[in-house]
Point group: C2
Amino acid sequence: MKKALILLGCPESPSQTPMAVYVTYKLKNMGYDVTIASTPSAMKLLEVSDPEQFYITQKTDIESCLENLDQGAYDLLVGFVHRDAAVSYFVTFYYILNTSSIAIVFERDAEELERFINDIENNTNATIISARAYHNPTPLRVKFDKTIKTMEESHVLP
Amino acid sequence: MKKALILLGCPESPSQTPMAVYVTYKLKNMGYDVTIASTPSAMKLLEVSDPEQFYITQKTDIESCLENLDQGAYDLLVGFVHRDAAVSYFVTFYYILNTSSIAIVFERDAEELERFINDIENNTNATIISARAYHNPTPLRVKFDKTIKTMEESHVLP
């Protein structure tokens, strides 16, 4: 089975937990076995958000995930990026996994958003989905849907 | 069937959407038919957060809900309060429904939190659950579980 890893950053943004559920749901429907790697605080939000584990069945701590990570462990990497720490995590995971990768970059502040996008562009060949999003998840959801559809149709996805 | 109404405020806090799912889940397990009334932006977060509508089956716009509200329409009111507007909505719904009510008050800032608690205390007899919560939902979740258990055991709940 194809395996996808979703990276969650700091949980400050109200869009992140809902979008993490949504991305998991979409990827599962596409046949991926999905694992979410996150900080402990982001994981608490996921647990409260899905008490029956209907959507999110596999969760792991981002640090221990990184320690045991090998190339080929996952076929697809999707990272939520809205902090410098999340950029670093994404780039690190990107180079270890060396596979198809999508960065979902979101920030309320336009300059910060631009900076995160540049950081990802200058350091990786990942597909970038970006929006000035904070509490409205729709721009990210719509762009994610379009991007994943295009990648699927052009056989870029594993 | 017993009917509960959950009121959601502005969606700025990353805890609100996950906790709304959790409270819905708990109340359904207690036999309530649960409806969530929210602003359009809070509703978008709910939709992304539960794409299969596994947890949240009944959603309504808070304004149109208010227009058509009568005493006795719901047996239990649960309101998320972390803004002045949410205080006003809660108090308004409280007086129209005139039934068992719980205010979940949360704010990062201690003074603001105190002010919201005082507003609810001075204007209603609702049970108050409060925490200085922002991206950690655990204090709210634990207090909600304890409060609802106590209310159930002492037959305060409808």
